[in-house]
C-alpha cells in the first residue's frame, strides 16, 4: 500500500478512535445488555413473562380510568411493550371543552415530546396487564430501561446543556458516526493483511502483540456486525441530521409530513362533534377481532380519537412476527360509530419498500429476529466490541510510551488512558452492584437507580484512577466483578426466593437467564483474574510504577 495513504488511514483511525473510545465503550456495554431488556425487566420485577399469553384488559383499564377522569372526548395512545406484557398509555385532555375546561392558551405547544410539560388533566403512565396496575414512568423505571437508555446516553440529556436538541442523543449520534468512520479507516488500514492475519492470535506473545491481535483480528471478524450497528445506530438516534434538508427542500419545511411519508407517525385528526355515540364500546372485543384477523402479527400501537363521541375513531398498528415475515407494517382505522373501516393495510402482505428498509434497520439493531440464541451471539459480539475498544486504548498508550517522547506528553497519555480504562473497566462491577442494590433496597425508582449507578461509578472510577497502575486496576476490577456478579443471583434468591433451581423448576427462564448470565460473567472474571495474576508480565514504562497488562473483557470473549 502507498505509505502515504497507509499513514493517513492510520492517523485518522487513531484520532477518531481515541476521541470516542470511552463513550463508545459505554454504548457497547450498555447496548449489549439491552439485548436482554425484557429478561432484565422480568428479573427485577421477580415475575416471569416467558411463555405467558396475555389478554390485555383494555376494558378494565378504561373502566378504572373513568373513575378518576371523565373520559369523554379524550384521545389515547397505547404504546404496547414488545412482549405484550403491558403498555404505555398516553391520555390527552378532552376535545370536549365542557370536559376539559381549557385554560387560556399560552401559545406554546409541544407536540412531539411525550414527556414534556403537559396539562394536569392529561396522563402518561405504564400499565402492566398481569397485575392490572399502573405506575408512572419514574416509578416503573427499572434496570432494563436504565441500561437501554444509557446505551444512547439519554441520561446525558438531563445535565442541563441546552443546545436545542437532546444533548445526550447528539453525543451518541456523533460518536456513532465517528465510529463508522473509524471502522472504515481501520478496515482500509488493515486491508493488506486481512487474509494473512485473519485468524492470527498470538496469546503467548508479548502483551503488545496480544493487544494488536485482539484489536485487528477481533476487529476484522466483528467488522460486519459493528458496521451494521454503526450505521443503524446513527440512523436510529440522529437521523434528523440527514432528514432536515429533505424536509425543507422537498416538503416545504413540514417535517411532520416527511415523517408521515416515511411511515413513522400517522397524523389522525378528527373533528369533535359533541354528539355522544350510541351504545357502548367493547375495546377488548375490538382489539381481539383484529388480532385474529392479523395472524402472525403483533399489535404495537393503538390510537383512540375522541372517545365516546360520534366521530370516535380507533387505529391499530401492527408489525408482523419476524418468523412469519421479516418486513412489513400494517394499520387499520375504524370509525366506531358506523363500524366502517376507513383504511386498512394488512401487516403480512403488501409490504412496501419503506417497510423493507425500516424492518432491516430495526431488526438488525434490536436483534429480535432469531430468538434467544441470536441475542446471545449479538451480546458476545457486543462484548467483543468492548474488547476491541479497550485493546485500542492500550495500543494507543503503548505506541506512544517511548523514551524519546517528551515526559509531559507521556504523562498526559498515561492519564488519558488511565481515565478511559477506569471509566470502562468499572462498568461491569458497577452494573452488577446496581443489580444487587435494586434487589436489596425497598423502594426502587428512577432516582434510586441513577444515584446508585452513577455515584458508585464515580467512586470506583476515582479509586481505580488513583491506583495509577493499570495492571492493578485490572486485577481489582476483575476480582470486584467476579464477586459482585456472583452476588447478583444470590441477591435475587435472598430477596425474592427465586433461586436458580426454583426458577428452573417454574420455567421462569427469563429470570433464570439473567442469573445464569451473571454467574457466567463471574466465572469468566474469576478465571481471567487467576490468569492475569500468574501471567501478567509487568514492565516499567515510566518512573511512575505503572505496568500495563492484559485487560478483563477478552477473557469473556475468548471462552
Amino acid at each position: 500500500m502507498d505509505p502515504r495513504k497507509y499513514n493517513i488511514y492510520f492517523h485518522t483511525h487513531t484520532i477518531s478512535g481515541i476521541i470516542i473510545a470511552a463513550v463508545l465503550y459505554v454504548i457497547f456495554f450498555a447496548g449489549s445488555f439491552s439485548f436482554f431488556k425484557d429478561d432484565i425487566a422480568a428479573w427485577q420485577k421477580g415475575r416471569s413473562e416467558a411463555g405467558h399469553a396475555f389478554d390485555p384488559p383494555y376494558n378494565y383499564l378504561l373502566d378504572s380510568l373513568s373513575q378518576h377522569y371523565n373520559l369523554r372526548g379524550r384521545s389515547f395512545n397505547f404504546y404496547l411493550l414488545r412482549q405484550g406484557q403491558g403498555t404505555y398509555v398516553d391520555m390527552t385532555a378532552s376535545a370536549d371543552t365542557t370536559v376539559s375546561k381549557p385554560k387560556p392558551k399560552t401559545g406554546k405547544e409541544d407536540g412531539r415530546s411525550r414527556r414534556g410539560k403537559r396539562d394536569e388533566d392529561a396522563a402518561y403512565f405504564r400499565y402492566h396487564f398481569a397485575d392490572k396496575k399502573a405506575g408512572d414512568y419514574a416509578d416503573s423505571y427499572d434496570m432494563a430501561e436504565f441500561l437501554y437508555r444509557l446505551h444512547f446516553l439519554a441520561q446525558l440529556n438531563q445535565v442541563g446543556i441546552n443546545i436545542g436538541t437532546p444533548f445526550g442523543y447528539l453525543v451518541a449520534g456523533i460518536v456513532a458516526f465517528l465510529f463508522l468512520f473509524a471502522l472504515i479507516t481501520g478496515l482500509l488500514l488493515h486491508w493488506d493483511k486481512i487474509k494473512s492475519n485473519f485468524f492470527l492470535f498470538r496469546p503467548m506473545g508479548k502483551w503488545k502483540t496480544v493487544w494488536t491481535d485482539m484489536h485487528t483480528t477481533l476487529g476484522v471478524i466483528g467488522f460486519p456486525f459493528q458496521l451494521v450497528f454503526a450505521v443503524t445506530g446513527v440512523v436510529l438516534i440522529v437521523n434528523y441530521v440527514l432528514l432536515m434538508p429533505f424536509a425543507s427542500l422537498l416538503y416545504n419545511g413540514d417535517s411532520d409530513k416527511l415523517y408521515e411519508s416515511l411511515q413513522y407517525n400517522k397524523v389522525v385528526k378528527v373533528d369533535y362533534t359533541y354528539k355522544p355515540i350510541s351504545g357502548a364500546f367493547d375495546m377488548d372485543a375490538f382489539v381481539g377481532k383484529w388480532q385474529k384477523e392479523w395472524k402472525d402479527a403483533k399489535i404495537s400501537r393503538i390510537y383512540i380519537r375522541n372517545y365516546m363521541d360520534e366521530s370516535m375513531q380507533v387505529s391499530l398498528e401492527g408489525q408482523p412476527n419476524p418468523e412469519a415475515n421479516f418486513a412489513g407494517s400494517g394499520y387499520v382505522t375504524v370509525n366506531i360509530g358506523t363500524g366502517k373501516v376507513l383504511e386498512h393495510k394488512s401487516p403480512n402482505n403488501g409490504g412496501n419498500y419503506i417497510d423493507g428498509v425500516k424492518s432491516l434497520l430495526y431488526h438488525l439493531h434490536f436483534g429480535d429476529f432469531g430468538g434467544k440464541p441470536l441475542r446471545i451471539i449479538f451480546f458476545l459480539l457486543g462484548l467483543m466490541g468492548c474488547a476491541v475498544i479497550v485493546s485500542g486504548i492500550m495500543i494507543w498508550l503503548v505506541a506512544r510510551d517511548k523514551v524519546a517522547t517528551e515526559l509531559r506528553k507521556r504523562r498526559f497519555n498515561f492519564w488519558a488512558s488511565n481515565f478511559f480504562l477506569a471509566a470502562c473497566l468499572s462498568m461491569l462491577p458497577v452494573t452488577a452492584f446496581t443489580f444487587i442494590m435494586v434487589k436489596m433496597l425497598d423502594q426502587v425508582d428512577q432516582g434510586v437507580i441513577y444515584r446508585t449507578y452513577f455515584y458508585s461509578w464515580l467512586v470506583l472510577g476515582i479509586y481505580l484512577m488513583v491506583l495509577r497502575n493499570l495492571p492493578r486496576m485490572n486485577r481489582h476490577t476483575l476480582i470486584l466483578s467476579a464477586v459482585l456478579c456472583l452476588g447478583v443471583p444470590i441477591a435475587n434468591g435472598i430477596s425474592t426466593g427465586l433461586w436458580m433451581w426454583t426458577t428452573w423448576q417454574k420455567g421462569a427462564f427469563d429470570i433464570l437467564f439473567i442469573d445464569a448470565l451473571f454467574l457466567t460473567l463471574a466465572g469468566s472474571c474469576a478465571y481471567a483474574f487467576t490468569r492475569v495474576r500468574t501471567e501478567a508480565k509487568t514492565f516499567k514504562v515510566l518512573s511512575l510504577s505503572k505496568t500495563p497488562e492484559n485487560v478483563s473483557k477478552p477473557s469473556v470473549v475468548r471462552e
Binding site: 499513514n7 493517513i8 463508522l180 482500509l188 427542500l249 422537498l250 411519508s261 416515511l262 505506541a399
Partner: protein, 99 residues
C-alpha cells in the same frame, strides 16, 4: 508505533480545512446526491434509502478529504458535485410523476 508524521498535515489551518471540507462538503454532496435521485425516483423511498447509503457515503467523503493530496481541489470537486447534483431540483425538473 504511531503514524509516521512525514505523511501528515502539519499546518493546523490546513487540517481544519480538511475536517471542514470532509464534514460540511461531504454532507452537502451526500444530501445533493440523494436530492438528485428524487428527480426520477419516489422521494420517500430515496430518503429512506439514505438511512443506509447516506451515512456511509458521508464517511467515505470525509475520509477522501484527508487522503487527497490537495484539499482545495477536494473543496472544488465537492462544490461542483453539489451544484451538479442539485441542478434538477433547482431547475424543477422531475421525471418521477408518481410523487
Amino acid at each position: 508505533m504511531p503514524a509516521n508524521k512525514k505523511y501528515l498535515t502539519k499546518s493546523p489551518w490546513l487540517r481544519l480545512s480538511k475536517i471542514l471540507c470532509g464534514s460540511v462538503g461531504g454532507y452537502a454532496v451526500t444530501v445533493s446526491l440523494h436530492l438528485f435521485f428524487t428527480a426520477f425516483l419516489p422521494k420517500e423511498n430515496v430518503i429512506m434509502t439514505a438511512a443506509f447509503t447516506g451515512y456511509i457515503l458521508w464517511a467515505f467523503l470525509l475520509l477522501y478529504a484527508f487522503v487527497a493530496t490537495n484539499v482545495w481541489r477536494v473543496w472544488g470537486i465537492y462544490v461542483l458535485l453539489t451544484i451538479v447534483f442539485a441542478l434538477p431540483y433547482l431547475l424543477k425538473i422531475n421525471f418521477n410523476h408518481g410523487s
